[in-house]
Each structure stands twice: as structure tokens, then as C-alpha cells.
Symmetry: C5
Subunit: 323 residues, 5 copies
């Protein structure tokens, strides 16, 4: 569990890391904005201590620590609570990080289930006084934090989009054994993404409707934009799912067509030779009285008959477009 | 039918079991909170007697006794009625227990269709004065009872989740005869779970909107959390259903691919030998005038021709990626 | 067309049957409650006469007579109109009876399209003064009539449920030719049931919201219960439809697996003998110069080679789990 | 483009046809109700002239002339505008006629895209003073016009319903080549019908909610009935679509079962003879040293062995229920 | 990046192109209506300059420049913002152009992501004073711009509709290898179109509900018509998707039927000859003691038996309708 704290106001900014919650609380900034970032949410006691210091409801703490918690937004008396999932890709697997934000009047506390430095760019922006971040309140900081999470969705979605395009090419290649399992793996990824993006969409809508004094009206367009991005991510997931279904359909149809044409050619070859083999069998019989056998023209005539039968069958198959 | 009664107030607590309703009613606790638990709902007369004592509507009694009743929440003049299903797994089968709660101002009556001790942990909490349970009212007790039922859903869902993961591995194993029936069995379990979890979701939403004086505003976050858990359970069921559909698809596709490749190899072997057998048949004919037969090089040449034909066909099949 | 009339008040009750509407109207009971039951809705003139006597709107008469009319509830100035379908099973076929109720202040008129005695139990209840029926108004009588219709849905659904369970067993039996048509027949029954139960669900919701003085507030829990039963029936239909889809899937998969394994075994047998037949064919050729033929060990060696080839192929097929 | 005008009041009625709009406008009936019917909507100028005379909005004219316009209902200052599709069947093909109604206080203007006499029965009703039509206003006339269009939907749906019933019988007949294309053709018809009936449903709901002074409250039950008919037509279309999906499923399953059983029998016959042919091949070999050949009992013993093998295989196949 | 500006009032109009934003801003028309069109949205700085001059919110600029932005309508203090996608077809591929409109009181600024002259017809209408365009405000100009974009949807949809009709014919042609990939390609086009048309539908509904002073009430019917066109386009896309699904189904069914009938005929031929070949094989055996061989009638009798067997099998197959 790692604790860091940043304080800023229009004039300056400072940053500290702390080993324990009590150490952290000393650094609180009564005048400006304080942003506390907690990496790792296993430390039950430390989080309880932090919660007490900021009057956070026990259910909120539960939601922060429960990595299975679906995205939601809730309004409490003194703070807004938002939790959502950060999605990143590592070694071809999706990593879901459970992110929680507690937005107070002068303080934002962000919790990350997994260690990592996902909010580093925002830290730099504060340090470098980039844009208007230092002049605005906790709502703008929260917007930036949420926005950085949602923006990462599109990185992951773009990577999946490239993969789906490759699937479209691979769908027609019959010797690609790994195709179906990989496709299903991507489908499951999309399913998991949908599961965390859809409720986020609704949570952000709820946030917009809350009309909380903690979110200033001037920032509404930003939060609306955020919500639209979540909608777009959700729609992209749906579109990808439909594209995947199409890819699957093409693959099934191509495979079955090719299999069928192979079997057809093989069966035609067999069918062609079976009647001829029968004729050869007939004249291989050892009956004493088989007048044809002694006829000197019988052998070439038999060959002729066999060739005529074979060509006739080929012609018949061809005319019926069987190959 | 088993009756037990627990009384408690911030200072102390006591518990009794009773053989008959009238005996039970003597133990009522006018000052503190009384919790009556009824196991088994067949005893028509006893339940009617209990209902009369607490002014419970005949339709509520019907809902308590009807194990087919879908989850619902209803507000009556003097009480709230909630019924839902407890789900547990026994010998690989789902067991649905019809649970009903009647929440009065100072009394909670809980009914369980099946015998069992599902609420034992809450009984212990009251006895041990754990948390703030003894200081709060019937609404908090009801929350705990409902929460323990909903929490059990996740145990069952986790077990099903593990099973689905195993299905994903088994989907590619062609010699697994029991796969399809077991998959369908799991699908039906999910279907039954959905059938009892979806209406619960709505019932809890309704409960939140009721604004009944029996549910204190301070506990709203708890009931909201409960409702969110029901939503999450419902969504997990849906996700599992989609995962199962994916597993089925993989299985069908793997089976059909393997079957096809088996048939292809077998057919290729047949196809390879049929023309050769024809040639052997031709020179097995007994015509008197077959000049090739007396040629001393004819036999090795025939072998050569047959080998060339076989290799040619193999080359042709290979080039077309038929095996 | 058969007309019957029942009058009752808390003190007593009487019943009459009548051949014509005018005869019937004489029996009207100005003080108590009158229930007129009309079996058969073809008699245009008689129904028009009845409608005039009770000020019923021409569109209501149309709805009563039109057996295709979907369930609905409508509020008119002086009466409520409800129509729905009674469902029963006769000789394995579903019978849909179009039932209409006109609820006036002191009179209920019920219309049944088909002859039959479906409301007999309610008639007996009135006669025997069972429950509180004689003390309550036309709304309670209407509730009983509607309830008896909806209860019958569950009888039919239970019968279908038993049938679906049998389908689940039959799904794995490959020699069951009638399976698919019977399954489709049951599917169609469910489709037809859904078609009449879904709009009923909405009509009863509408009835609950109407807030008509003809429905006393005290009876609201009963009508709500009725609506919930309709919801439950509708959900049961949906669950059955999903179960049937699962049964179909199992059947298709079992059939196709078994077919495939049959074809595989047959093809393996053919494939095993075709190369051997080729070898036999080779030594059946009549070339003059075939040195093997005169070798005294050639015949047993050939047998040996053939057995080795056969065993080799069997071993190869086995190792690849082809049978 | 054909113009006709009918005027009526409770006392009398008259009808005229006109070649041009200006001629038509002379016949206007200031006192009673005027109904102008326009067949053919290509005559741009004439329609513009008519629109000017009645103050019709340019967008309404566009909607009248655009045959692709989906059903809608709109309220303007001085009139209501409704457009919908009349559906009829001609030579097995659906014909969609774009019908528009402009409802003014004393005038109804109806436009039909295709020539035809679909409103003739209403014309006769006015002429013969049937029912109460002459005593009521333009709203009742509009109701009758809309009702005649919606009633025709059921004629077309009944014809399709008969066809679907025949499909159910044909689904099990394997030699019916035209089955799939005809089924798809019917499916497309239902798709097109749905496309015009669903928006009508909504338009009529909108009309009911408009609360326009042009629609008297007394007629509301009629318009509500109309809307319910549209709902019923839409639901019938959906039911038919599901029935068709069922028919398709039965057909696929029956076809595939029969194909499989044919292939199975054929493959069994081949499999039965292939080992026997191998044995015959063995004793057709020309090795010098084949002791069996000279044994006088070898031939009948060989026959015996072959018969035993054949019967053994048949018994094995039978016991496994392969045929 | 190309800039053009048009000014007009009821009396006259003028047009200019500009290389830079500052040059453009000189031409602003304080009295009449000014329409600025920007082709290409890459020039970040120029667009920022333009935004400053007209007080456009930074998020709006982002939405203008982000080609992935889904259609939306937003109301700001001094302007309305609408963005949508223009769809055209070029070389068989769909081209999506991201179009944004900023509607101020006296100015409309339109942005096109791709260069092109899509709004040329409207420019001409202004120049030629066609219709009432010069007498109306920026709302009417915006309507015309939006309408021209939506109208183009129908051109693209008509082209796709023609293609789908051709697919319906091609679905029954078994030698059409490109069918499945082309079908999928068209399906993907429809998917992409749906993705941009569905949100437009909602955005236009939102615009109608905004009740902004920038949209005069007189023009509401026009915007409503626009929204209905978007709905119709969306519904057409859905209908096309269903038609495509039907085409796919026909194709699969036709292909599989034809494949099956080919395999059946081929298998019947094999099956017919295999028993005959067996008989020939029997009498090709070289046993010393085969009494039939010396019988002078044995050979023709054998032929007779073989013909009888063949005809018997053919008769049996025929009677079972196997070919």
C-alpha cells in the first residue's frame, strides 16, 4: 500500500509520499486543494483510519475494497463517491484495476487496487501548472482523473479493433487452427469490457443529474463530454461484438464450403472408378464359358467402353456443375 | 415446523424455541426488538394464528406459503412484506428456499420454506452484541437477513463460475461425452437463478422508493447497497449465460473441425487406392488377347504407373492443402 | 346461447336460467348484487338487447363478440370492461375461450364465447355463502371470476412443464422420430399462450392504475395479486421457451454427434480394407512375368503384409482417438 | 389523377367528380361536411393548388407525395395530418398504397397514391345515410377511412396465416424444392408489413394524446379501438414471424435427419461388402503356392465365412441401432 | 484547410474564399447572415483562432476536430452545436465525413473533415435567391445544411438496397465464390451506417426538445421532418440488416441442399456397384473346386443376377424417394 499526497493552489504545488495514514494526514492543505492517492486497497486498517479522518461511510469503504464492485456513483452528505474500472492490456491479457474517487470540497482521495502509476500525467500537469488545473477545484481534478481512465479504454479498444481486422483476414484461411480459440478469447475480453463500461455509462449519467454543489455548473460540459465518451466506448464494444459475429459467420461458411468442395472432388474420383472396377471384375471371373474372353477385339473394346463410361460421367458431373 | 424467537435491546438479548404459536406469543418483547423465525411453511393453522396475532393480510399468508411465489416487496398499513429465494447448492443441485420477511415496527417475522439454519450467523451476532445490531431497529435486522441471502447467491455463482471455466477447457476435448448434457444442466441452473434474481432486483428498487416509516433514512445506503448486489448477481448470471454460449460455440466448432479432418483423411486414403485397384482389376481380366500380359516388363511398368498415380494424387491433394 | 342470472346480498341468494334476454331482465335485483352469465356470444340481437338495458357502448359489444380481440381493460362512464382468454387443454390441444366482464355498480355481466361451466365453483361459493363473497360488491365477484381464469393458466402451464421435462429425456434418444414435430407443437402452444397472457399483464396493470370508484381500495391487494399471477404466468411461458430452446440444442447436438460417430466407424472399416483389397488385386493380375507368384513363401508373406498394414492403420487411428 | 368530392349533412348528400382542382373547389360545401378524394399524387401543380386553397403546409404536401414516407400523425394549426399505408395483395404480391388524410373542421381531404376504389364502401354509407355517419363530423369520417385501411391489414394477414399453415405441412416434405425461397418471400412480406404497421401504432397513440379540438371526445373510444387494432396487427405480424422461424427449424431438422438416414443406409451397404470383396480378392490372387485353393471344401467354407462376417456386421450395426 | 465565407440578406449576397482565419474575419457581415465553411479540420491553430473570435467552448473545438466523435447536439449559451457524419460512396467504399455546425444568431460555421464540395447546391441557392432562404435566419440555413447531409444517406441506402436485391438473386447460385465475403462487407457497411445514424436520430430529437431561441418555432416542422428522415434512414438500415440475414439463410440452405443432393447421387452410384463388384470378385477366385465355373449357363445367369440386384436397389432407392 502506497500513499502519496499532492497539494496545490493557483500559486504553487507540493507533493509528498507517506508510509502511514497518520503521517499523510499531517500534510493536509487547509487552504488549497489536496489530492491523496492510495495504491493498493488491501490495508484494511489504514483505509479505515483515512475514512474516519474524512468521515467516509463504512459502505463506501467496502465499495473501495471490493474489487468486484461494479462502477457506480453515489452522493453522500459531504462527498461524492465514484468507482470505475481502469482497463489496460499486459502480455495480451486485460488487466482491470478497480479505481475509486472520493470527492470532497477541498480534497480528492483516489484509490487504486493495483499498484502502478496511471495518474502520473495529471501529477505532472499540476506540478507544471499546465492548463487551468491549479485555478479550478476538486471537481476539475476529478474530471481529469476520470477522463484519463476513460481515455485508456479507447487505447485498449483500438488494439482490439486491430486484432479484429486481422481476424477478418484470417477468417478465410483454413489452416489456422488457433483461430476459433483466439476469437473466443477476444469475445470474452469484449464481454468483460462491456460489463464494466455499461454501468459506468449509467453512473456518469447519474452524476450529471445529481446537481451536487461539489460539481460546479461550469464544468458540466466536461462531465457531459466524459459521459459521451463512455457511451462511445460502450457502443464501440457492441460494434466489435457484431463484427466478431460476422467474422465467425464468414469463417464457418468458408470452412464448410471448402470442406464440402474437397469431399465432393474426392467422392467424384471414387464414383468415377467404381463402375470401371466392376467391369474389370466381371472379366476377371473364371467361368469356363465366357465367349467374350476369346474374342481378339474384346480387350480393346472393353477399354473403349470403360473410357466412354468415364467421360460420360465426367460430362454429366460437369454439366450439373458438380465440380 | 419449527419456531424460534429472539428478543434484544441495546442492553441484552434472549432466545427461545417454541412448539406452538401460542407458546411463542407469550415470549413477545414489548420494549425491545423481537425476531420470530419460522422454519417450514406447511403448518397452515399455526401460520394463520401467527398472522392474526400480528394483523397480517390473508394474501400475505398466501404469498408466504406459496413456494412458487416470485420475489416481491409490498407495503401494508402496519408492515412491509418481502419475499425472495435463498439459493444453495447441495449434491450438485440448486436448492431454492422460499424466504419471507414481515417487518413490523418492533418485530421481524421470517419464514423459511425449508428447514435449515441459514440465519444462524445473525443470531450469533445478536447474542454476541457484534457491531451495532442491538442498537438499531427492525429495519437493520431485515437488512442483515436479506443481505445474508443475497451474499449466498455469490457463493453459488462463484461455484458455477469455476464450473464454466472448466467447461472452457473441456470444450476442446472431443472424447468428453458428458459435455453437452452437463452444459445444458448448468444453463438451466442459470436460467432458474435468473428467474429468481431478476424480480428481486426490481423488488428491492421498489423497497427503496417506498419511503416507508419502517425503513429509517439512515439505513438507505445499506438497502441501496443490497439492491446493487442483486443487480450485480443478475448481471453475473447474464455474463455467465453469454460465456456458456461461447463455450458451446467453441465446442461445436472444434468438434465439427475435428470430425471433418478425420473424414477428410479417411476419404483421401480411399480415393488414393480406388484408381490403383481399378488398374489391378484391369490386368486381372482373363481376355485371351491381352498383349501387355506377355510383355516381360509389363508388371514392373504397371507398378511404376501405379506409384506415379498415387504420388501425383498425393502431390495434388497436398498442394491444395487438403491435408 | 345460454343465459343464467344469480342474485345475492349478505342475507340470501337465488339463481335462474333464462331463454331470452327480456325474461332475464325481469329477474334483476335492485337491492343486492346481480351476476348475469352469458354462454355463447353469437346471438347478436340478444346481446344488443342486453347492452341497451345496461347502457353498454357499441364498441364494447364488438369486443365481446370478436373472439380475436386481445385482452384489454377499459373504463367507461358507468362500467369497467375487461376481456381476457381462458385457456384449457382438451385432447392435447389448447382451447382458448374469449371471456368478457362488464362490471357495473350492482351488476356483473360475464360473457363466455364457448359453452362450458368454468365459473361453477364461484356459483357454488355464492350459494353456500362461502367466505365473505356475499358481503362484498361486484368488484370482489369480478376478482374471483378473473382469478379463476388466471389460476387455470397454471394448470395448463404445469401440464406443459411436465411435457418439457419428458422432452429433456427424449432429447437424447435418437430413434424418436416424433420428437421434432411434437417439440414444435409445444413451442407453438407456448407462443399462443404468450400472445394472450402478455397483454393481460398490461391490462391488469392498467386496471390497478385506473382508480375507478367501481374498484374499492380495500380490494387493491387482491387485484395486485392477480396482476402478479399474470406476470408469473408470462414469465413461466418465457422460461419454458428458453428450456425448449435448450432441449432443441441438446437434441441437435446429440443427434449430430451420434451420426458423426456412426459415419466415422463405417468410414474407418472401409478405409481399412481398401488398401488390402488393392494388394489382393495386384496379385490377381495375370502378367506372365510376375516373379512373386512362383515364390512358395509369397502367399503367407502377403497375408503378413496385409495384417501389418491393417494393424498399423488401426494403431494410427487409435492413437489419434478416431474411434 | 382523379378528383372526386362528396358533400353531406344530416339532411342530404351529393357527389361530383372533377377534372381540375379549380372546378372541384367550386363544389365546396360551406354548411355541411365536404370530403375530397384525390387518386394519384403525381400531379404536383394540382396538389399545390389544392394545398393553397386549404392552407396546407409545404412539408405536408411533400409527405403526401413521397410514397416512401413512413406512417405519421401531425397536428397543425388548422388541420390534422395522418398518413399511412394501405396494404392489399395482388397476384401474390403485396401492394402498398400511400394514403394521406388532411382533417379540417368541415373538410376531409384524402390522397391515394395508387388509383383504385378502396373507399367506395364509405361513399355508399354516406349516400345511403347508413348508421350515424351524416350526423357526425369530419372526425368520424376520418375514423371510418382509417378503419377501412386497418381492417384490410387483417385480410392480408389472414391470407398470410393460411400460407404459414401450409408451410407447416410442407416443412416435412423433402422433395419440395420451392419451399425455402417461398418461405423467404413470405418472411420479406412480413418484414415489409411490420415496417409500415409499427410506426402506425405509434402514430395512432400520438393522435390519441394530441387532444385536438378536431377530434371530439365522444369519438375517443373509436380511435382507441383503431389503435388497438393496429397493435393487434403488429403483434400478429410478430407471431407470424416466430411461427415462420419454427417452420424453418422443423424443415432444416427434418431435411438433415432424412439426409443423414439415407447416407447411413448407403454407407452401411458399402461397409458390408467391402470386407467380403477383400476376401474374394485374396482368393483371386495367382500365387503358385496357395494350399487353400486346392482344398475341395475351401470354396463353400469361404462362402460360409463371408456370410458369417456379413451377418455379424449386420447384427453389430443393428444392436447399436445404426439402422 | 480551405475557408470560404458567404454573406446574405434579403437584398443581396456575396462570397469570398480566404487563406487565413484573420483574413476571413474581416469579411464578417454585421447586418445580414454570415456562413463560414471550413474544409479540413486539422489546422489546430486556425480553428482555435476562429473559436476565439466566436466564443466557442474548447470542448466544442475538440468535438469538431475529433473525427471519431459520435453525432450529437449541444446547447451552449450563445450557440448550438451539432455534429454528424456525411456518408458517401467512393469506389465501392463508404466515406464518412465528420460535419460540425456551430449555429449563432447571425452566423453559421460549418466544418467538414474531408475536402469536397458537398454544400455547393446550398451555396447556389443563396446566390440565386432560390426559395425563401435569403429572407430567413441561420436556423433555416442550418436546416438546409443538415437536410442535404441526411438526404445523401438515402442515396447510399438506395445503392445498398440495389445491391441487396442482387444478393437475393445470387444467393441461389452455388458457383459464386465471392458471395459470402461481399455479403459480409455489405453487412459491415450497414453496421457502420447504423453506428452514425442511430445517435443522429437521438440528437435531432434532443434539438427539437431544446426550445432554444436560436431555432424559431416556425421552423419546427422542418426540423421535425429532418428528424423523421433520420428515423426512416435508421429503420431502413435495420430492414436491410434483416433482409441480409434472410439472404444468408437462403444461401446456406440452398448450398447445403445442393451439396447434399450431389453427395447422395454419388453415394448411390457407389452403393449400386459395390455388391456387383463383390459378386464378380467371388467368381474371380481361383479355387480348384468351384462347380459353377464349369456350368455353361453360369456366366449369363451371373449377369442376370447382377442386373436384378442393381434394378432392385434402384427400385428400392426410388421408392424411398432417395433420388
Amino acid at each position: 500500500m502506497q500513499l502519496s499526497i499532492i497539494g496545490y493552489d493557483p500559486i504553487g504545488s507540493w507533493t509528498r509520499t507517506a508510509a502511514a495514514v497518520d503521517e499523510l494526514l499531517q500534510y493536509r492543505n487547509p487552504a488549497g486543494i489536496t489530492w491523496i492517492n492510495v495504491e493498493g486497497t488491501d490495508g484494511g486498517e489504514a483505509i479505515t483510519r483515512l475514512a474516519e479522518a474524512y468521515n467516509i461511510h463504512p459502505l463506501t469503504i467496502e465499495d473501495i475494497q471490493n474489487a468486484e464492485q461494479r462502477p457506480k456513483a453515489e452522493e453522500f452528505d459531504q462527498y461524492l463517491f465514484i468507482c470505475l474500472k481502469a482497463i489496460s492490456q499486459k502480455d495480451g491479457e486485460l488487466v482491470f484495476d478497480h479505481i475509486s474517487l472520493v470527492i470532497l470540497e477541498h480534497t480528492v482521495i483516489s484509490f487504486q487496487q493495483l499498484p502502478g502509476d496511471s495518474f502520473n500525467s495529471i501529477r505532472k500537469r499540476i506540478m507544471n501548472n499546465a492548463g487551468k488545473i491549479r485555478r479550478l477545484g476538486t471537481d476539475y481534478l476529478s474530471y481529469l482523473l476520470l477522463d484519463s481512465v476513460v481515455d485508456e479504454y479507447f487505447l485498449v479498444l483500438d488494439a482490439l479493433g486491430d486484432r479484429i481486422e486481422k481476424f477478418e483476414e484470417r477468417a478465410v484461411d483454413e489452416n489456422d487452427c488457433g483461430f476459433i480459440p483466439e476469437l473466443q478469447n477476444t469475445k470474452q475480453k469484449l464481454l468483460h469490457m462491456r460489463r464494466v463500461i455499461w454501468p459506468l455509462r449509467e453512473s456518469l449519467s447519474l452524476l450529471l443529474k445529481m446537481d451536487s454543489p461539489l460539481l460546479s455548473r461550469d464544468l458540466m460540459p466536461f462531465f457531459k463530454d466524459l459521459q459521451e465518451n463512455a457511451v462511445q466506448a460502450a457502443e464501440t464494444v457492441e460494434t466489435y461484438r457484431e463484427l466478431m459475429a460476422g467474422v465467425m459467420e464468414v469463417n464457418l461458411s468458408v470452412m464448410s464450403n471448402r470442406m464440402n468442395s474437397v469431399m465432393k472432388v474426392l467422392t467424384i474420383i471414387s464414383t468415377l472408378f467404381i463402375p470401371l472396377t466392376f467391369i474389370a471384375g466381371v472379366y476377371g471371373m473364371n467361368f469356363a464359358n465366357m465367349p467374350e474372353l476369346s474374342n481378339p477385339y474384346a480387350y480393346p473394346v472393353t477399354w473403349g467402353v470403360m473410357i466412354v463410361i468415364a467421360l460420360g460421367m465426367l460430362f454429366f458431373f460437369k454439366r450439373r456443375h458438380w465440380f
